[in-house]
Every structure is written in structure tokens, then in C-alpha cells.
Amino acid sequence: MLLDLLQNTIDGAAAGASYALLAVGFTLIFGVLRRVNLSYGPAVMIGCYAATWLHLNFQSGLIVLALAAVAGTVLAGAYVERLCFAPHRSGSAIAAMVASFALWMQFEELATLVLPRHVYAFPLLHEGAPVEFLGLSLRPDALAVLGVAAILCALLQGLLHRTRFGLAVRATIENPHAASLAGIDPGRIFVLIFALASAIGGIAGFLIVATHGQVTPMLGMWATLKGLLAMMLGGLGSLRGAIVGALVLGQIEAHSQWFLGPQWRDLVAYLLLFALLAANPSWMTRWTISRSAS
């Protein structure tokens, strides 16, 4: 029993780590642009499809596939930014969101046109059996995901709080007008943040498909849902909150799957979000990324 709990916690942490990267990407875009980008997950899916295509046609190594996933996601992200967000920068947030939904559909169509089968195998990060340790089974690839996520989050924290670029990003998040009066070009910051968030999404996507061993067009919706859910659980708009929200989401899923069965897995997470909002309606409006490190 205790061992099961422990095992669930470890599995949940690994899943939570990959959700954390998705949630961090979402939060960066939301924090800077104050816009929800529904195409974030589908752009990640395009990156993973680019990697899959390379794998199928050239049997490229994992490093190349990871780079392809990042490059594909950043390209798809740039397309989304130009079409959905650049034209609506000072205009309607709803228009930008609806436009990003339209691109989501485009991305799914594109993916199924290029690779029409529903499922493609993706090379695993680590082949072979999990390591047995004190009765627990530890998957080396899951540990790698945890490690990469932790390093990326730490780097991002450093970038935002210790560099000139980070200062400009946080100033822009606080108030784009005031930032431009300080000599910062908010338009440039928007584009760079979009690229950064997409690159993080690409890494997340690669890690996810390389641990699951498969790619489907459903990855886009899946990534958008997990990222949004984790971001909302964490209180919308704070990076630390998004990371905590993602880790909590991983735990809820792992434990509810074990105790209640797989069909309860997602439901419990949504119920928790519902309960959180019902109990504390201001939950999503109290945080911001720009806060000083203290």
C-alpha cells in the first residue's frame, strides 16, 4: 500500500514535470500578451510531427529529433504569432483566441495530410526495463524528464530575474505602455517571448512523445488541455504557480488513476479546478510573473 503510494507519487512527478514545461510556455505567452493561445499545444504537435517525419525518412538520432521538434514548434509558433496575435495586439483578446482556434484546426489537418496514419511510433528516450529499487520501479527516461524540466525552469527563472532581457520582459508584463516609455520595445519582447515559449513547448513535446513512444494528432489538444489546466490550477499568470499547478496535476492524475480507475483520472483534475474556483473565485487574478524574486 505504502509502496503503491510512493510509486504513484514518482510516476505523477514525472508526468507533472512534462506538464510543467507546457504550463510554463502557456504562462509566458499569457503573462506577456494577456491572450490565451489555444494553438500552443497544436504547434507543439507540429514540432513532434516534424521530428517523426525525420525519424521515418532518415532514421535520425534523438538529438536531431529533439532539435527538429524545437525548430518545428518555434516555426509553427511564429506562424501563430503573426496571424493571431500581431494583428490583435491592442485589439480584441477574443478575436486572437478564436483565430488561434482556427490555426489549431489547420495544424491538425496539416499533420494528417503529411502523416495520415493515426498513430506513429517514436523512438524511446530509453529502451529496456525500468530499474528496480527497493521494490519501486524507476524509469530512467522519466527521471531524465524530471531533470530536464527542473533545469529549464531554473534557467528560465534566472533569465527573468538576472538579465537585462528578463527585466524588459517583466516590465512589459507589468505595463507595455510604461515599458515603452522606459525605452523598451514591447513588440520585440512579445515576439521573443513567443519564440521562447514555443522552444520550451518543443522540448516538452519531444520529451513526452519520446517517453510515450508514439505520436498522434491528438497530441495538440492533449498538450493545450494539460498546459491550460496546470496554468489555471496554479492561479494563471505566475510561473511558480504554473509549475506547482502542473506537479499537483501530475499527482492527482497518478493517484486517482490508481485508486479510482483510469476513467476517473481527468475528471478528478477538472473537479479540483471547479472546487478551487467555486471556493475562491479570485484565484486566477492575483498573480503575476513580473514580481521581484524575494
Binding site: 527585466l167 510604461a178 515603452s180 520595445d185
Partner: protein
């Protein structure tokens, strides 16, 4: 002597409504020039047009020899104009120190920036006390000082100040004006929008009265018409 700032026939509109209807003015290097006029006369619109937040429809704005009409705000900061906006707009969730560093965003050379911060902390001792605090926790007067200090961090050739006394207690207003006088003594060129015409005319060398989007009167304080100017600055000519 050619003026540092020269605005010519400037027209800025919000949709169909022209808030500025052909404003011309000049600011001499090293002077304090103030803009007076009733609410809604177009003073803030003029400041926003000069700072690049609003794009003028017609006319030109020159800083020294350079035409900066319609350029983006960050380009205008780089050209040498810094605006202290009306509601201060400090970065509330960032520390006082970070606010100052953000003001120097266009500049290179960390050592020089740090020594400028050190100098501003001497001028604004309250900011030193609160250096690590988030700007949002500062009082209104302290935020105003931070906004001025942040603008100075870009080492502007021209400082635009929009209603620096707005909503502040009389003692704090006095302090702000003492700082304005100090900046002037050190050679900073200032274009000041101020509701408190009495105070403004005490520090300014030149003033423009703006009414309904146009310059209706200009001159130097101390001239005969001063009482009339002050009356119109508060009430507008419609109250005549």
C-alpha cells in the same frame, strides 16, 4: 538659438475628434517651459504625441536637428526624450532598483548605469531607503520621485513631466517642485504640464496656454497678463 524641441502645426486626433488642432511651440535648451490650460485642452495629448505614444496626423516634431514625428516611444527615448507620465506608471511588482534599471534599458555600460543610480539615490534619499521594496508599496509622492528618477536614468536631453503634482499632498508637491528647480539648476531641459498654474509659473521661464487644442497665448511669467492667464488656465476662455 535654435530650440531643443520644436513642434510645428501638430494635429493629433482620436478617431474623428481632433484633440490637437495645429499646435506649435518651442522649448529652449536648459529651460523650464510649462503648458497651462484647462482639463481636456489637449496637454496630455501633446505630451503623448511628443513621446510617441500617439501618432500625430499632421505636423512635425523635431529634437535638435532630428525629425522624430511619429516614431515609436522606444525610439524617442533613445533619441533623448523621457516622459514622466501623469499617473506615474511605475512597475508596481518590481523593486525600486529594478524600476531604475529598466529606465536605463537603452543604455549600455553597467558601471555607468550603477553610478547614475548611486547619484539619483543621493538626490532621492527616500528611494535609497526603499531600494529593495516593490514600487507598488511606495507612497504616491515616493512613486512620483521614482517615476522622475526612472525617466532620468535614460539620460534624456529633454524631460517631459505630465502633472507631477497630481493627487499629492501640499508638502509633497513642494518637494517635487524643489526637485524640478534642482534639475533645472543642473541644466536639465524640462517641458512641464501642470494644473497648479501658480506653482508652474514660479519655476518656468516660458509658458504656453493651451485651449481647445490650440496655443492661445504664450509668453514669459511676470508679464502683465499673468492673472488673466492663470484664470484661463483654470477655467478656459469659455468662462469669460
Amino acid at each position: 538659438m535654435a530650440p531643443l524641441l520644436e513642434v510645428r502645426d501638430l494635429v493629433t486626433a482620436y478617431g474623428k475628434i481632433e484633440a490637437l488642432r495645429g499646435v506649435s511651440l518651442a522649448v529652449q535648451e536648459g529651460s523650464i517651459t510649462c503648458l497651462l490650460g484647462p482639463n481636456g485642452a489637449g496637454k496630455t495629448t501633446l505630451m503623448f504625441s511628443i513621446a510617441g505614444i500617439l501618432r500625430p496626423r499632421r505636423g512635425s516634431i523635431r529634437l535638435g536637428a532630428r525629425d522624430i514625428t511619429g516614431r515609436a516611444p522606444h525610439v524617442i527615448v533613445a533619441a533623448g526624450i523621457a516622459l514622466v507620465p501623469e499617473n506615474r506608471l511605475v512597475f508596481a511588482n518590481m523593486s525600486v532598483l529594478e524600476n531604475l534599471r529598466a529606465g536605463a534599458y537603452q543604455r549600455r555600460g553597467g558601471a555607468e548605469i550603477e553610478s547614475d543610480i548611486e547619484r539619483l539615490m543621493l538626490r532621492f534619499p527616500r528611494l535609497r531607503e526603499r531600494a529593495a521594496q516593490n514600487a507598488g508599496t511606495l507612497s504616491g509622492g515616493e512613486q512620483q520621485m521614482l517615476a522622475v528618477a526612472r525617466a532620468l536614468m535614460s539620460r534624456p536631453r529633454l524631460l517631459l513631466m505630465d502633472e507631477p503634482s497630481l493627487g499629492l499632498a501640499p508638502l509633497v508637491v513642494e518637494e517635487i517642485f524643489r526637485i524640478i528647480a534642482e534639475l533645472h539648476r543642473d541644466g536639465t531641459t524640462i517641458l512641464l504640464v501642470e494644473q497648479n498654474a501658480h506653482l508652474a509659473l514660479q519655476v518656468a521661464q516660458h509658458f504656453y496656454l493651451i485651449e481647445q487644442g490650440k496655443v492661445s497665448f504664450s509668453g514669459s511669467p511676470g508679464a502683465l497678463a499673468e492673472d488673466e492667464v492663470i484664470r484661463r488656465a483654470y477655467l478656459g476662455s469659455a468662462a469669460r
